[in-house]
Amino acid sequence: MNNDDILTIVKSIIVKVSPQYAAVDIQPSDSLKDIGLNSIERMEITMLVMEELDVDVPRIELLGPKNISELVSLLESKLEKAGV
């Protein structure tokens, strides 16, 4: 699974959690917070992305990324480590 695949999954989960984002052109440089998602929505997105990708890491490790692009890179590195 490459960066683009993960980005597509992240975007689809954002829309699933908050459907109003279907009409928003979300960019990799955007942060979840800056585009207006509150902390509960961000928590849901993080959890659903982990479940979708089946990565088993402490959730708090996913707090570091400052934007969607960094989140995708981190997830990719976790998947690589897990040999997926």
């Binding site: 509150n38 509960i40 928590m43 479940e51």
Partner: protein, 417 residues
């Protein structure tokens, strides 16, 4: 016969005033649908100037103690007070509680702090105490309240509707008519973090909402995993008839339950998970969504809600998840007894919730000036009983304890009303 240990009696005291979150949403220009669907909150209890952790705790515990015979009352040999709203760095609030309940003096008295986990630390200590001394009873009381200082400082948005006032008291003994705990069935998980701090009273400075939500989730998974690794044959999806969670707000519990279902069971579809939530977790959310987060008592308010709203024609197993920021957590279990519902009904918790004085928004905001005065180490003041006249009138004749004044020697004076 196998030793039975657990909660003999339980009661909750949830303050004298409340605010409907619809009123809050209207005045703050916030989306009420988000409150109802995302956070899942309906009302919150609001602290009045004459309420403090000691008065709340006494008001929760007294109806339990009043039902005991003199001999039973004298068998209370331990009082544990759990709180993150301590009033003195030396004196434990357990000593005040012991005094106002009129308990005998051969009694261990102490206070416990570990954020919202503290009451569970107290409960586990009490369980271990009565295991070694089966003729004795122990009283564990959690009490916390929120004053709106974060709101005044403008650092609060979606936290404002969540923070409440309340106390839950539990009598622990070898006659567990409410909850018989599964002895030695405990999973725990903790580590150092800075997800929520109280360096000063009533100020959640340094709190990091994202970190706290995810730490809660990590601990939930970690403590359940630890529990399942120790109890042969235990299964998250089928062992527990009901589940009760520490409830900062019900939406968070819903998220945690969904995440744990996907982690520990084969049920992955949203509609099936929702159905499981409504059946196994729903009853435990009924009171929490009307009170807000009462910190270390929140899990036990969930338990009270479950006992009042669940179906107990047979003894039913419940899994309980306790979480305290920064952080410590525990997943444990027990059996809610068939006697529990009738016994708790005498406490009339729903009537108590319905009888709280419902604040207007102007009344709610008028309390902020009082909230500002609650500094740590403050003395020489008398509390304003008439700040909300309707709330003061509403508790007259109810036999409740209220804070009257703190004198120049920092002695706290209470009165019964």
């Amino acid at each position: 016969m196998v030793m039975q240990v657990g909660i003999e009696a339980i009661n909750a005291y949830l303050g004298a005033a409340s605010l409907d979150v619809k009123v809050l949403a209207e005045h703050r220009g916030l989306d009420i649908d988000r409150f109802y669907n995302n956070l899942i909150v309906e009302e919150k209890s609001v602290a009045l100037p004459f309420e403090d952790p000691i008065s709340l705790a006494v008001n929760a515990a007294k109806p339990i103690v009043d039902q005991l015979t003199p001999a039973e009352k004298d068998s209370i040999e331990m009082v544990i007070f759990a709180s993150e709203c301590g009033l003195d760095l030396e004196k434990a609030m357990a000593t005040d509680l012991h005094h106002y309940l009129g308990l005998q003096r051969n009694c261990r008295l102490f206070e416990v702090k570990q954020a919202c986990y503290a009451a569970t630390a107290g409960l586990q200590s009490a369980i271990n105490f009565v295991r070694t001394k089966p003729q004795a009873k122990a009283l564990v009381v959690g009490a916390d309240l929120y004053r709106q200082l974060d709101v005044i400082r403008g650092v609060n948005d979606y936290q404002e509707p969540n923070m409440g006032v309340g106390s839950v008291a539990m009598l622990v003994s070898c006659n567990p008519e409410i909850l018989m705990v599964d002895l030695d069935a405990n999973g725990y998980y903790g580590f150092h973090s800075y997800d929520d701090l109280h360096p000063m009273p009533y100020r959640h400075i340094g709190g990091d909402a994202d970190l706290s939500l995810l730490t809660y989730m990590d601990c939930c998974e970690g403590s359940i995993k630890h529990y399942l690794s120790q109890i042969e044959g235990a299964d998250y999806g089928s062992t527990f008839d009901y589940l009760a969670f520490h409830t900062p707000f019900v939406g968070m519990v819903k998220g945690a339950h969904r995440s744990m279902m996907r982690k520990f069971t084969d049920i992955k579809a949203d509609d099936k998970i929702k159905k499981d939530f409504d059946r196994r977790v729903g009853p435990a959310t009924q009171y929490c969504k009307r009170v807000g987060n009462i910190m270390c008592s929140s899990l036990y308010l969930a338990l009270v809600g479950l006992v009042d709203h669940g179906d107990f024609n047979k003894n039913s197993r419940v899994g309980l998840y306790s979480y305290g920021s920064c952080c410590a957590s525990e997943f444990f279990s027990g059996v809610i007894m068939q006697t529990a519902q009738d016994k708790l009904a005498k406490m009339e918790i729903k009537n108590h919730l319905d009888s709280r004085y419902s604040l207007s928004f102007a009344e709610y905001e008028s309390l902020f000036e009082h909230d500002k005065t609650f500094e740590f180490g403050k003395n020489n003041f008398t509390t304003d009983k008439g700040a909300i006249p309707g709330a003061w009138e509403g508790i007259q004749g109810g036999g409740r304890l209220v804070l009257d004044k703190v004198d120049e020697n920092f002695h706290r004076h209470y009165i019964w009303v």
